[in-house]
Amino acid sequence: MYNGIKIIIGLLIFAALVTFPFYSKMGKATAKPDPKVDTPEIQKLAEKKCVEPKEFMKTEHMKMLNDWRDTVVREGNLIYVSSDGKKYTISLQNTCMNCHSNKKKFCDECHNYSAVIPYCWDCHIEPKENKT
């Protein structure tokens, strides 16, 4: 091979660099996301329940928020009737974040962990306590 030694050394350096993130973190567990729902607003609630059960919200909140935004903007429906028959105003800023006033510990905790970048906050105004 022409210039074989240089090519092989180059390849080795390349492989080392590419795999660096893997072996540098090998065996070390990354801190698990730990979203908090203990905001003062939630503490004050008599019944500490979200609009839908916790398990559902964990897996489906993104779909639900999508449905909410479409129905409120495009169809003008302001009221969401949950599976247990309760009525809620459809609003990210005024309903969701009213209770979950801890965006950093509630939203960002998992989104950062899973490298999800939702663009909600490009326009929507986040709760004040998280402005640093």
Binding site: Y80, S83, I90, Q93, C123, I125, K128
Partner: protein, 265 residues
């Protein structure tokens, strides 16, 4: 191994049935709880068949009257003040007679009209040219006549701005967030690269409130249902001579103007 036509048709038929049935079964199993969810409009919301506004210019006298109305809207909707007319974002603003009603002006126009500012905003046309050109349906006409903006869909192509004959639309050249004086936490802001305009306060109507400008106008702006002969707007339209901006273009604007005369008229 070869199959004859009969066998082939059998297999094809059975696999079609299994295929169709299979997807239905999967759909049924995958159905999440959201299907049980229901949405409904707010029963307290103000509703109409055709929302419209009448601007009684003769009732707007001092600089303060205008400022109150424009500030009420811009505060309510987090409209930034960029301090530069090139980047300006405006939902409701002042315009001279000559610019608001081009073609109607003439050399000998009464001084009181010539230099009087006219409040202009999105006309929420019946035939909105902006809606026709929007490639993503980000701007659309609601059943009650409001020409709405869905910021989630806007890609910032600015076709609507080119199409609108009233200049009612503004483009966010910069991130508007740092330029909002005091944020209204109940209403979203916008991001760089979207077009925005007046939405006839759809969010207030849904709560049962009249638009912010109407509330702040002290009777100079009247909001009502054009299809309801007993509405306040129709009563005023019956009793006064009103004009609309550039009605010759056929977009059928829904904002009417009572020009009135001079103070001594």
């Amino acid at each position: 191994m070869s199959i004859n036509r009969r066998q082939f048709l059998k297999i094809a038929g059975i696999s079609t049935i299994v295929g169709l049935g299979g997807t239905t079964a999967v759909d049924l199993l995958q159905r999440n709880w959201l299907e049980a969810a229901q949405y409904s409009p707010n029963p307290k919301a103000l509703t109409a068949k055709r929302w419209a506004m009448v601007v009684d210019v003769s009732k707007l006298k001092t600089e303060d009257d205008y400022k109150k109305i424009m500030d009420a809207c811009h505060r309510e909707h987090n409209v930034p003040d960029l301090g530069n007319p090139k980047d300006e974002i405006k939902w409701i603003w002042k315009e001279t007679y000559e610019h608001a009603f081009p073609g109607q002006e003439h050399e000998y126009l009464a001084e009181g009209i010539k230099h009087k500012p006219f409040l202009v905003l999105c006309n929420h046309c019946d035939n909105p040219s902006c809606v026709r050109v929007c490639p993503t349906k980000a701007t659309f006409k609601r059943k009650d006549g409001i020409v709405m903006m869905d910021m989630h869909r806007c890609i910032g192509c600015r076709f609507c701005m080119a199409a609108c004959p009233f200049g009612a639309r503004s483009f966010n050249w910069k991130d508007p967030r740092p330029f909002i004086k005091e944020e209204n936490k109940e209403f979203p802001a916008r991001m760089r690269g979207v077009v925005e305009k007046c939405t006839f306060c759809y969010e207030r109507l849904a709560k049962g409130l009249k638009p912010a400008c109407v509330e702040a106008s002290n009777g100079a702006l009247v909001f009502g249902d054009l299809k309801d002969p007993e509405s306040e707007a129709r009563k005023i339209l019956r009793l006064n001579y009103t004009i609309r901006r550039k009605s010759e273009l056929g977009t059928q604007p829904s904002v009417y103007y009572i020009i009135g005369g001079n103070d001594h008229a």
